[in-house]
Amino acid sequence: MNTRRLVAGLLSAALMATLMSGCGGTAEQTAAPTQQGEEPRPNEITVAIAQDLDDSLDPHKTVAAGTKEIMFNVFEGLVKPTPDGNLVPAVAESYELSEDGTVYTFTLRDGVKFHNGATVTAEDVVYSFDRCADITGGSSLVEALSVVTDVTAVDEKTVAITIAAPDNEFFASLTLAILPKGYEDQDTAPVGTGPFRYVSRAAQDNIVLERFDDYWGEPAKVEKVTLKVIENADSLVMSLQSGAVDLCAKLTSTQVAQLGDEFYVAEGTMNLVQALYLNHAVAPFDDLKVRQALCYAIDKQQAIDIACDGYGTPLGSSMYPGFGKYFLPELTNYYPHDVEKAKALLAEAGYPEGFDMTITAPSNYSYHVDVAQVLVEQLKAVGINAKIELVEWATWLSDVYSGRQFQATVVGLDASTMTARALLSRFESTAKRNFINYNSETYDALYAQAQATIDDAEQTELYKALERELTENAANVYIQDTANLVAVRKGLEGVVFYPIYVLDLSNVGWTE
C-alpha cells in the first residue's frame, strides 16, 4: 500500500515537472523576441499545409496543385513568374525571338547551380524539354509543350527552342522546371535550381526544405522550412494557437476568427473565378433575360459578407484582378443588385412567378456550399425556388464537368498557366472544357481573332472584349475571387501573393 502510494506520488511529481517544464518552454519562446541577449530564435519556420505531398515530386509529373504549390520553391524554369503576373528570366539570362516568331534562343545565366552542386548547362535544358515535349513522337508530358518541334543546344550556354507556329502565350509554359540530366531520383529526392533544396519527407507528417546557399539570386531569408501536414481543420487551429505552426495559407474566415493575438492575417486572393455557372443548354438558362434576371437578383457583396465574413473580391466576368493587364474593374458592377428589375426581366421572359432550379455544389468545398446557401436565400426574393444538391468532388467532375448534367453549379475556376487564354478558352462553343455549353458566335469569332494575333497589346484588347461579351451576355452569375487568408506569426514578414497557385517562401523571414 505504502509503496503504491509512493509510486503514485513520484509519478504525479514527474508529471508536474514535465508540465512545468512545458510551461517554461513556451514562456521562454514568447519572451525571446523582447529580451536582448537571450538565445536567438533559430532562423527557421514551420508552415502548415493541408495535404501531404504524396504524388510524384518530379515537377514534370506532379499533378496535385498542393504539391506544385510547395515545390515552386525548389524548381525554376528558364523564366519564372513574379507576383505581379509577369515572367522574368530565371535559369536563362536573356532570350531572343526570331523574326517569324517560332524560334526562341535562350542564353543561360552564369553560375546557376543545381542543388547537387552541378552547374546548369545547355544539355540539362535540352534534356528537360525533351523529357516533357517528347519531340520524337508520342504524347507530351506537358500539354502546352506539344507545339515544340525542336530543342537544340547551340553551345554550352545557348539553347534554341523551335515551335510549330507563332504563339504569344507559349512563353508562359517556359516556366517548365529545369532538371539535371541523368539524375533518376526526381520522384522521391528532387533536385532543382530554386532558392530551397529538398531535404526529406516523412509521409503524412512533414516535409523539410533548407536554404540553398549557392542560389544565383536573392537567397531565401530563413535557413530551414518545415512543412507540417495537418489535414484536420480543427487541429490546424489548435496547432496555430499552441505556437507549433508559424504560417498557414488558405484559412477560412471562421478559422481566422479563432486565432489569438500572436498572429496577423495577410489577405491575398485564391485566383479563382467563383460563380454560379449556368448550363446554357438547359431551359430556362438558355434565355438571356433569365440569366440577366439572375445576375440582378444576386447581391455579391452580401454573399461575400455572409459566407466569407467580407473577405473576397467581387467579380463581374471570367477574369480576376491578379491578371492586372486583362482585368476590367468596371464589369464588376455591371448588374447591380436590383430585385425589381430582376422580377421585371423574369416576367418578360415568361416566368412572372419565378421557377424551380437546382444548384449543384461540391460538398468538400465549404466556401462554395456556403455561398450557394446565401444565393438560395437571395433568389427567393425574386420568386426563384432554388434547391441545393451536394455532390462529392468526383461526382461533380464526372456529372457536372464532363457529363454536363446540371442546371447551375457554384464552383471556382482557376487558370492553369499565367495566360488570359487559360481562363477564357473554355467558353468557345466547341471547347472540350466548355461545360456550361456557352454558345456565342461573336465570342467564337473574337476568340479566334485573339489567337491569331501576335501583337500583345492588340491581343490584350481582344481578351478584354471577350470578357465584356461574357458579362453582357450574362454567361454566368459571377460572384468573387475568394480570399486567401494567410495566418502569419507576428515578427514574420514577406508573404507575397502570386496570380497562380503557389506559396513563395523565399521572401518570408523574421524581422529581428
Partner: protein, 269 residues
C-alpha cells in the same frame, strides 16, 4: 398483476412528450424563418434569439425546432422500414425454421459483422448521395438485421407454446397464427427494441448528416447543424451546445421510455 411505480417510464413519457410538442409546433410555426439570413452573425443567446444566431445570421432556436422535426421524421421512417422488414423476416424464419432460416440468418450475421455506418455508406454510394430519401432507405436497410434477429428469437420461443399448437390443430391459417396469435405476444420484447432502434436511427441520421451525406443545406437537421457548429466551437459554442443538447434530450427521453418498458415487462413476468 401488481403495478409498481415506474419512474423511468413516467419521466421518459413526459420528456418525450415535451420534445414532441416542440417538434409539432416547429412544423407549423418557428419564431423566425429558419433559413432567413436577417440577423447579425454569431449573436449569443438572448431574449430575441433564445439560442443565438449562427454563421449566416440565422436564428438557431428556429433551426433547432425545424431540424429536430427533420431528424425525428427521418428516424421514424428509418425505423418503419427496418422494423416492418425486420419483424417480417424474423417472424418467417422464427416460425418456419429450416433452410430458409439458416440462409437468412447467416446473411444476417454477415451484415451484422460490418459497422452499420460503413454499410450505410456503401448503400448510399450505390443509390447515389445527396438525397435524404436515399439516406432513409440506406439506414433502413442497415437496421433490418437487428430487428430480424430479435423478433426471430421471440417468434421461435413461442412457436412451441400450447396455444399455438392448439391453433395449428384447429386448422388456423399460418398467416393468421403469425399475425393474430404470435405478433401481439412478441410486442413485449419488440417494444424496447423499437425504442433503442429509434435512438440508433436518430444518432445515425446525425452522423450521416454530420458526414455531409444526409440533409442538404440550407435545410436544417440536428446532425448537420452539429457539423456546421464544429468549426465555430471557439467563436459560437452555443450553436454546438444547443444542437447537441437537443439530440441528447431526444435520445434520453426515448431511452427512458425503453428502460421503463423493460422494467414493466420484468414486473409482469
Amino acid at each position: 398483476m401488481k403495478q409498481t411505480r415506474n419512474g423511468c417510464l413516467t419521466a421518459g413519457l413526459i420528456l418525450s412528450g415535451l420534445m414532441l410538442l416542440c417538434i409539432l409546433v416547429g412544423f407549423f410555426w418557428t419564431p423566425y424563418d429558419p433559413t432567413a439570413m436577417e440577423s447579425a452573425k454569431f449573436l449569443p443567446p438572448s431574449l430575441e434569439h433564445w439560442m443565438g444566431t449562427d454563421s449566416f445570421g440565422r436564428d438557431i432556436f428556429s433551426r433547432v425546432l425545424k431540424g429536430a422535426g427533420t431528424t425525428v421524421t427521418i428516424a421514424l421512417s428509418i425505423m418503419g422500414i427496418a422494423a416492418v422488414c425486420g419483424v417480417a423476416i424474423g417472424a418467417l424464419t422464427g416460425y418456419f425454421g429450416g433452410v430458409v432460416d439458416e440462409v437468412l440468418m447467416r446473411v444476417n450475421d454477415a451484415l451484422t459483422a460490418f459497422p452499420s455506418i460503413l454499410l450505410a455508406l456503401v448503400v448510399i454510394s450505390i443509390l447515389g448521395p445527396g438525397s435524404k430519401y436515399n439516406v432513409v432507405l440506406a439506414l433502413g436497410l442497415v437496421f433490418i438485421p437487428g430487428y430480424a434477429r430479435v423478433s426471430r428469437t421471440a417468434f421461435a420461443s413461442l412457436r412451441e407454446a400450447n396455444y399455438i399448437k392448439s391453433a395449428q390443430l384447429m386448422g388456423v391459417s399460418k398467416g393468421r397464427i403469425l399475425l393474430v396469435h404470435l405478433l401481439p405476444n412478441t410486442v413485449q420484447v419488440l417494444l424496447p427494441t423499437l425504442t433503442i432502434g429509434f435512438n440508433n436511427a436518430v444518432l445515425s441520421e446525425a452522423s450521416m448528416s454530420y458526414l455531409g451525406i444526409g440533409v442538404t443545406p440550407p435545410d436544417a437537421s440536428l446532425g448537420y447543424m452539429l457539423s456546421e457548429a464544429q468549426g465555430m466551437l471557439g467563436t459560437a459554442p452555443w450553436y454546438a451546445i444547443c444542437s447537441g443538447a437537443t439530440i441528447v434530450l431526444l435520445v434520453f427521453g426515448v431511452g427512458l421510455i425503453g428502460q421503463g418498458l423493460q422494467r414493466r415487462e420484468k414486473g409482469v413476468a
